[in-house]
C-alpha cells in the first residue's frame, strides 16, 4: 500500500511540478509554449551527464535549470515581438529538434540506448530499500517550494505586472512596464522549473532515453493546467492528480481488454487527443476555472 502511495506521489508530483512551470507561462503570462517537454529533457540529460562526470548532483541540477532557462529565454527573444502563435510553432519545433539531437548524438547521450547507472541524491545514505520513499519526500518538498514560490510571485508587484501584460499589454506599456522583458522572464523561469522536474524524473526512473520526452508530454502538462483552470496553481496540481488517475485507470483496464501493447498505448493516446478536443470545445475553463474567466478564450 505504501509503495502504491509512493508511486502516486512520485509520478503525479513530478508532473505537477512540470505543469506548474507551464502554468506560469500560460496561466500568468499568457504565453503559448508547445515545447515544454524540451526543457524537462534538458534538465534530465544535463543533470545526468554532469553528475556522471563527477559534478556534485546539486550543481548538476542547477546547471540544468540555468541552461533550460537560457534556452527558453532565447526562443522567447526570437519570437515574442511577433504573433503569439509563432512562439507555439518555434517551441514545438525546438522540442522535436532536441529529441532528434538526443537520439542521434550517440557519443554524448548514447541515443535510444539511453543512460543509466548515474548517481542520485543521497543514494548511499538512504540505501536502495527506502530510496523511493525518500525521493517521494523530496518531490513533495520541491513541489511545495515551487508552489510557494509561484504563489508569492503571483501576489507580488512582479506578478501584477505579468498579469497586466497578459490581459492588456498596451496598458502595461502605457504605464512604463517593459512587457517584453516580463514575458522573457516568465518563459525562463517556467523552463527552469520544467528542468527541475526533469532532474527529479531522472532520479525516479533511474534510466532516461529520448523517448521519455516526446512532444505529447507537453500536452499532458497543458491538460493538467487547463483542467485546473489556467492560472490556478492549486488547480494545476489537481489536474496532475486527475491525469495520473486517468493513466492508472487505463493501464488497469488494459489488463482486461487484451490489446497488444502498441495498440493499447495508441488507444490511450487517442483518448488524450479526444480529451484535448473535448476540453477546447466544451470546457476551456477546466474544472476549477470560472465561466467568466474563460482563461483560454482570449
Amino acid at each position: 500500500m505504501l509503495d502504491y502511495l509512493v508511486s502516486i506521489i512520485l509520478t503525479a508530483g513530478i508532473y505537477a511540478i512540470f505543469a506548474l512551470g507551464l502554468n506560469l507561462q500560460w496561466g500568468y503570462a499568457g504565453l503559448l509554449n508547445f515545447g515544454h517537454v524540451a526543457f524537462m529533457a534538458i534538465g534530465a540529460y544535463l543533470t545526468v551527464l554532469l553528475s556522471m562526470n563527477g559534478i556534485p548532483i546539486f550543481l548538476a541540477v542547477l546547471a540544468g535549470m540555468i541552461l533550460a532557462g537560457a534556452a527558453g529565454a532565447s526562443l522567447g527573444v526570437a519570437t515574442l515581438r511577433l504573433r503569439e502563435d509563432y512562439l507555439a510553432i518555434v517551441t514545438i519545433g525546438f522540442s522535436e529538434i532536441l529529441r532528434f539531437v538526443l537520439l542521434n548524438w550517440s557519443s554524448l547521450t548514447r541515443g535510444s540506448f539511453g543512460l543509466f547507472g548515474y548517481p542520485r541524491p543521497f543514494q548511499d545514505l538512504v540505501g536502495m530499500r527506502d530510496y523511493n520513499l525518500f525521493l517521494a519526500g523530496l518531490v513533495i518538498a520541491v513541489l511545495l517550494m515551487v508552489y510557494a514560490l509561484l504563489e508569492a510571485l503571483s501576489r507580488s508587484p512582479w506578478g501584477r505586472v505579468l498579469k497586466s501584460v497578459r490581459d492588456d499589454e498596451a496598458v502595461a506599456v502605457s504605464l512604463g512596464k517593459n512587457a517584453f522583458s516580463y514575458k522573457v522572464q516568465a518563459i525562463a523561469l517556467g523552463s527552469a522549473i520544467a528542468a527541475l522536474s526533469g532532474s527529479l524524473l531522472a532520479f525516479y526512473l533511474q534510466y532516461i532515453n529520448p523517448n521519455n520526452f516526446q512532444p505529447v508530454e507537453t500536452f499532458y502538462a497543458w491538460i493538467m493546467v487547463i483542467l485546473g483552470g489556467s492560472g490556478n496553481n492549486r488547480g494545476t496540481i489537481l489536474g496532475a492528480l486527475l491525469l495520473w488517475g486517468f493513466f492508472s485507470t487505463t493501464r488497469f483496464m488494459e489488463g482486461y481488454l487484451s490489446f497488444s501493447p502498441s495498440a493499447s498505448s495508441a488507444a490511450r493516446m487517442i483518448l488524450i487527443g479526444l480529451i484535448l478536443i473535448g476540453l477546447m470545445m466544451f470546457r476551456p475553463q477546466g474544472l476549477l476555472g470560472r465561466e467568466e474567466e474563460l482563461s483560454i478564450g482570449r
Binding site: D85, V90, E96, M281
Partner: protein, 285 residues
Amino acid sequence: MMEQLIANGIIYGCIIALAAIGLSLAYRILNFANFAHGEFLTLGAYFALFFAAILNLGFPAACFLAIAATAAFGVALDLLAWRPMRSSGASRTAIMILSIGLSIAIRNALIIFFRPDALRFPLPVSRGMSIYGMSITPLQIEVVLIASAAMLLVHALLSRTALGKSMRALADNPDLARISGINVDRVIRFTWAVSMGLAALAGIMYGLITHLNPNMGWSIILPMFAAAILGGIGNAYGAMAGGLIIGISQEISTAFLPAEYKIAVSFLIMIAVLLFRPRGLTGGG
C-alpha cells in the same frame, strides 16, 4: 555530387511546397496555425493505400479518390469542429490546442488500424536511372511533374476563378474582403478542400518516394511551417518557393552535416526568418 543533392532537394521540396500552400492559405484565412496539417498528408497516403491495396482499384484512381476523400474529410472537420469554435468565439489558442488533439487522435487511430510499421504502396519498385551523373528514378520525375502541374493548377485557381480570387482577397485582407460581400463560409470550406486536397497529394507523393508510416506527416510538420513562414503566411506562391528552398537547403546541408540533422536546417531557417524578416519573402505574414 552537389547536383544530386540539389535534385533530391527539388523532389523533396516539391512535396513540402504542395503541403505548405494549403497550410499557408488556411493559416491566413482561418487565422490559426493548424498543427494537424501533417496528419492530412498521412491520411491522403493511407486512403490511397486503402483504395489501392484493399479495394484493389488502379493506383491513379485510388489517388484521385484519396484526394477527394481527404478533401471531404476537411470539409466535414470544418462543419464539426472549426466552425462551431469560430461561432462560439473561441480563441486562437483554443483552436490550436484542438488541432494538436486532432493530430494526436488521427495519428494514433492510424497506428491502431494500420499498425505502426512502415508500409509501401503496391507498385513495382522504381529503379534509378543515370542522368547527367545523378541517380534519379522515373517515379521521382513523375512526382516533380505532378507537383508542378498541381502548382500550376493552384495558380490558375487563384488567378482565374471567382472562388480562387475570393480566397486570395480573404487571405490578403480579411477585413476588407468580409465587408465587400464575399460569402466567407463558402470560401472557407473551399479553402479547406483545396488545402486538404493538396496535402493529400503531397502525402501520396511522399509515400511514393519514401514509405508510409503513421508519423509521416508529423515528421515533416516543421519543414512545412518553415516553408509557409519563409514564403510569407497567406501567399501560395511564397509557400511554393519556400518549400523548394527548404527542400534544397536540407539536402545540401547533408554535404556538411550528418544526414540525420537535416531537419534542424528547416528549424534554423525558420528562426532566421522570424528574427530578420518575419513577414517572409513575400511580406505576407
